[in-house]
Symmetry: C2
Subunit: 377 residues, 2 copies
C-alpha cells in the first residue's frame, strides 16, 4: 500500500507511529515522516487527515476508534477486525465523528475483479450464478509476524488470505451471504496456524461459491494462471523453495529480523521512481477464480479478463500495470471519500460483512455444521 500512497501526488505521508522503535526509525527516515511513539499523539497531530491502521488485526478496533474519536478519517487493513463487536464499535465511532472509514486493500478491489463485476453489470452474459475460487500458494512459509500465526491474534489463513477470496466472491456475487459450510486445516505442527480452508458460500440472491485455499507451498495455482505471480510478476516454478528457505532460518527471532530487513528494503523500493517504471507487469491476481453467468464464464487473464461466451472466447484488456500494481484504485476511493466526492463502497459495513463470513468459516469448521447468516453481532 505504501508505494501507491507515496506515488499519489494528492497524498503526503506526514507521520507514523510504531511501538517498535527500530521499525519506526526506518520508516520515518525513508518517508521523511514525523515519528510518534504513542497513537494518541499521532491522532492529535493537526497535519494528519487520514490514519492508515496497519497494526495487528486484534488492534484494528481500538486504533480505528481512537483515530475516529480524534476526527481523523480511517483506512484499515483487511480483515477489518476479528469480531463483529469491534466492527460495530468502529462503524459507530466513524458515524459519531462524521469521518470516513474504509477497509482494504483486497484483491476484490483489483482491476481484473472490478472489470469482471463491470461485465456482469453490463448484463450481456445474464445473471451470475456460480463462482469458484482456488488459491494454493506458499503463504504459511513466508516470513510472518506473530499475529499472522497466532489464532488468538487473528492469525491463520482465514483472516489473512481467504478474506481476499471472500471479497472477490462478494464483489462478483452481490448481495449478502446467507449460508456458509466450511472446514479448515492446520497440518504442520512446526507451523501450527490454520493453513488451509475450504468453504461453500451461498448468497441471498441464490449465487453460490466455493473458496479453496492452501498455503502449504505444495501445488501452486499460478500454474493455472500463466505462471504469473500474485503481484503480476513473471514467476518461474519454485515449488517447495519457500519452505526450504524458511528451513535455513535458525529461529523465530531471526525470522523477525529478516522480516524487518525485508520491510526496510521494501520501503526503499516504494520510494524509488526508477523501480516503479522499469518493469511491465501483468495484472495482480489471487489464485484462480471463475465466475459463471447464465450465458458465459469470466476469469482474470494475464492482462485483462477472459470472457467465455456462447459464441466463443475473447479477452477484455485492462490498462497496462506498472508498480505499484492495482492498489491505486483503493487510494482513489479513499481520496474521493475523504473530500466528500463519492461515498466509498468499501466502508465499515462492507468490511464487517467479510469478517462475518470469516467468523462463519471458523464456526462451521469447528462444529462441522452449516452456519446461517447473519450471525448474531
Amino acid at each position: 500500500m505504501m508505494p501507491a500512497l507515496v506515488q499519489d501526488p494528492r497524498v503526503s505521508v506526514v507521520a507514523a507511529c510504531d511501538t517498535d522503535g527500530e521499525a519506526l526509525e526506518v520508516f520515518v527516515r525513508e518517508f521523511r515522516a514525523k515519528p510518534y511513539g504513542r497513537l494518541e499523539e499521532l491522532c492529535a497531530d493537526p497535519d494528519v487527515d487520514v490514519v492508515y491502521v496497519a497494526t495487528p488485526h486484534s488492534l484494528h478496533g481500538p486504533h480505528a476508534v481512537m483515530a475516529a474519536e480524534h476526527g481523523k478519517h480511517v483506512m484499515v487493513e483487511k480483515p477489518m477486525a476479528l469480531s463483529l463487536e469491534d466492527c460495530d464499535l468502529m462503524i459507530a465511532a466513524a458515524a459519531r465523528n462524521n469521518v470516513q472509514l474504509l477497509v482494504g486493500y483486497t484483491y476484490g478491489q483489483s482491476p481484473a475483479v472490478q472489470k469482471m463485476r463491470e461485465i456482469i453489470d453490463g448484463g450481456e452474459l445474464g445473471p451470475v450464478r456460480m463462482i469458484n475460487a482456488w488459491n494454493y500458494n506458499n503463504w504459511l512459509y513466508r516470513l510472518r509476524p506473530p499475529h499472522d500465526l497466532d489464532v488468538a491474534l487473528g492469525g491463520g489463513a482465514v483472516f489473512n488470505q481467504v478474506v481476499h477470496q471472500i471479497e472477490m466472491v462478494r464483489t462478483l456475487a452481490g448481495g449478502p451471504v446467507t449460508s456458509v459450510r466450511a472446514s479448515t486445516g492446520a497440518w504442520d505442527t512446526g507451523r501450527p496456524a490454520v493453513g488451509s480452508s475450504l468453504a461453500f458460500v451461498e448468497f441471498d440472491n441464490g449465487v453460490v461459491a466455493s473458496i479453496a485455499f492452501s498455503g502449504y507451498d505444495h501445488f501452486d495455482t499460478d500454474e493455472f494462471h500463466f505462471s504469473i505471480g500474485e503481484t503480476g510478476e513473471v514467476k518461474p516454478p519454485a515449488h517447495g523453495e519457500t519452505r526450504k528457505a524458511l528451513g535455513q532460518v535458525k529461529d523465530y527471532s531471526e525470522e523477525l529480523r529478516l522480516r524487518a530487513e525485508g520491510r526496510s528494503s521494501m520501503y526503499r523500493r516504494a520510494l524509488d521512481p526508477t523501480h516503479h517504471e522499469s518493469e511491465q507487469l501483468s495484472q495482480p491476481h489471487f489464485g484462480v477464480i471463475v465466475a459463471s453467468c447464465e450465458k458465459g464464464d469470466l476469469r482474470p487473464s494475464g492482462d485483462g479478463v477472459m470472457v467465455y461466451a456462447d459464441a466463443g472466447k475473447y479477452e477484455v484488456p485492462l490498462p497496462p500495470v506498472h508498480r505499484p500494481p492495482g492498489w491505486g484504485g483503493f487510494v482513489e476511493e479513499v481520496y474521493n471519500a475523504v473530500i466528500g466526492a463519492e461515498p466509498p463502497v468499501h466502508d465499515g459495513r462492507w468490511g464487517r460483512a467479510s469478517v462475518e463470513v470469516c467468523l462463519a468459516i471458523v464456526e462451521s469448521a469447528k462444529t462441522r455444521r452449516e452456519i446461517r447468516l447473519p450471525l448474531e453481532g
Copy 2:
C-alpha cells in the same frame, strides 16, 4: 466400454438386446452378436455369463434384477440407479442369486486417480485432508438421448457427470460421506436440464471436498490440464464450437439420428485394430482435481501423477495409453470378480454410496440446506 470389452481376449460379446430395432441391427452386425428384442430372452441364453446393463438410468434397477434372477453376473453403468430403493433391490437380487454386481466405468477408476490413491496409501505424504475438483466442459451441448436431459429419467449433470467427480473424490478420500451442501443450476431454457452443480462434501474421517461442474461449453478446465481432452487426446481450444454445432441441428429427432450415426461409427472404431494402436494418448481425466495431504498435494498430470511434496515437485509416470483409454482396469475387475479370484471394489454397495451423494446434492439444492448422510433408504 465396448472397445475395452472386445479387445480383451477373455471376453466374447455373444448377445445384445435393444428395443430400438435399428440400433440393435447395427450392433449385432458390427459385433457379430445374437440379437434379442426382449431382455428375458437374452437373460435366458445359456451362453451369456455377464449382462452389461447400459439402458437408461431409470431402468438399471429392473434390468439388473432381471439379469441376477436369471443367474447372470451384472455390470451396470453409472449411476447405479436413481433411488436407494432400486440400489437395495439390485444388491439383494445379486446376493440372493449369488452373482456379482459391479458398477462402472467412472473416472474414479482411471489409472491416474488409482495411482493417486496408491500414493496416499503409501503414507509418505501423510493423511489426505482436502480434495478439490473442477470440471467445466461442453457436456450439455453434445448429442444427448432423452434420458440425459429429462430429470424424471435421471437426466441432468448430477447423475451423468458429477457422479464421476463423486467417485474420484470418494476413491481418494476413503470412508463414507456424512454431509453434503450443494446447489445446482439449469441456466439454458433451450436445453432445460440441470447443467451445473457445486457441492461441498465432508467425509466421516474429516476429509472435505468441493466438486464444481459446468457443462455449458463456456470455460473449459482442459485449459488447466495441458489442453488434453477427457479421453487423453490432444485438444485444441474450441470454446463454443459444440453449442454452435448443435445449433445447426434442426430438431431433436435429427439430434437422435446423428447420435445413432455416431454410435455406429463408434462401434466400427471399437473393432478396428489399426485405430487402437495408431495414436499415442495421454491419460484419461475428468477436469482437474487436486488432493491435499498434510505433506503434499497430488494431481493427475498429462501422463501420470504430479506430486507436490515438501521438498519440491516430481512426476510419477503411468504406463502409456493406447485406445481404449483406461477402461481396461474395470474389465479386469469384472473378470476377477466373475471367476471368483477377487471380490470387486466397485460393487453394489460402492455404487449405492455414489447414488446417495447424488441424491443429497439434489436435495440440498432444493432445500438450500445441508444434508446429513446416511439418507433414509
